[in-house]
Symmetry: C2
């Protein structure tokens, strides 16, 4: 039936993608994952990297042809992504890429703040000295990127510091939930980073994380991490939403 040559898995959507999420490091999986999982990963990356724009519609038939898979695994992948809130699935009307309203971004940041606070509290208790040293090292690398005004590296290291602290909490559910929320907010945080030249504030705050962590003061670290995300909201709202309309009921 198919006389066609295998086409590239990723469609020719143009536009500059966002940097890939930092947690796709362990990609060297040799076991053959089901197509559904592979497709989910591809679409997830396309969303996170902004190849699929927020609000954009995802057409099953079209995308399945571009990816050279049938609609069955694609549809299953979409169900997974819906659970991760990266897309919205409207009955009989297909999928659109999630496009959280400002109000929702604030709410997401509040939850992410609570998660990071817990992560900080646990990390202060459970992190190994090696982990703390590594986080300190990442911080210095971030300072280097700061000096070079290398926004992209700065952003990636910034993210990695956050995820490293969460990882040090040793709480799997927390780590995974944090990853999900972070993915939903990835775009927002990237743009917030891009548009704000006041990096030194964030740097000071990260410095605060590390001193609290090194002192193993969980409460202090928790508070500082939560406050840090509140600042993210301020920046986001100033950048993208100069006027904040309350959502009408």
């Amino acid at each position: 039936m198919t006389g066609k040559e295998p086409e590239p898995m990723v469609a020719d959507h143009e536009a500059g993608p966002l940097p890939a999420s930092p947690d796709d490091v362990g990609a060297g999986n040799i076991t053959r994952l089901p197509l559904t999982s592979q497709v989910a990963t591809i679409i997830r990356d396309m969303i996170i990297q902004d190849i699929f724009k927020p609000g954009e519609r995802i057409r099953e038939r079209q995308l399945s042809e571009e990816l050279n898979v049938s609609r069955t695994p694609l549809r299953e992948a979409l169900k997974i992504l819906e659970g991760e809130k990266l897309i919205e699935l409207l009955p009989n009307r297909g999928a659109i890429v999630a496009d959280p309203a400002p109000r929702e971004v604030l709410e997401l940041l509040q939850v992410l703040g609570a998660l990071e606070a817990l992560g900080g509290r646990l990390a202060a208790e459970k992190a190994t000295d090696a982990e703390i040293s590594e986080i300190r090292a990442l911080h210095f690398e971030m300072l280097a990127a700061y000096s070079r005004k290398d926004q992209l590296t700065y952003f990636k290291l910034n993210q990695k510091i956050h995820t490293s602290i969460i990882a040090a909490s040793r709480n799997k559910s927390l780590i995974e939930t944090h990853r999900h929320f972070n993915a939903r907010l990835y775009r927002v945080r990237y743009r917030s980073n891009q548009r704000n030249a006041k990096w030194h504030e964030a740097i000071d705050q990260h410095e605060g994380f590390i001193t609290a962590l090194e002192a193993r003061d969980g409460e202090l670290l928790a508070r500082r991490m939560a406050d840090h995300l509140s600042d993210t909201w301020v920046k986001v709202s100033l950048d993208d939403y100069p006027v904040q309309p309350e959502k009408p009921r």
Copy 2:
């Protein structure tokens, strides 16, 4: 594989299923939901009500025949439930009902505690007086059930107080995430409730919630809700895991 006997863990008390989750308040949806969603709801309820036991395997063909649907929507439903962590989907080896190890239960309770703490903090700020009154009313109802030693009603009202406080936070993402974690822990909390005659402790703690809420002291409420769940862990671990072995595989 594991020679795990399907030994009913709460068999002696009641062979019947757990009470349904309290959040089936779903508005009268007139639109015909896709089969996939309906199937997901059915299976979710069966898991929460303990009709499907933890660790039990879910066979696609068999279940699809029992539900009179094809495997396609059933498989899509399983993907959804996997995202909610109610089942585990092993590549090429099908689905099994989630069966969190004690360690994982502790971790889940930590996250749930952080979520409830945030919920309490926000609720103290945003709850209407009517909502607070209603929560107080639920508390009195719970006291009534306590006097009658009506465990089931007590448990349901207990849950409803928690979800009502979270709902008062007005944070949709928080509400939904809380619902998911609560579902994953529903069984645990139910058994913890069933086995512990020391209800008065929980009652005192709930009383503490409400006074903090009425005083609109967010920090106090947050702390009390988090501590409450720590106690749940103590009860769970004492009841079910007198010795805590690592999960055998």
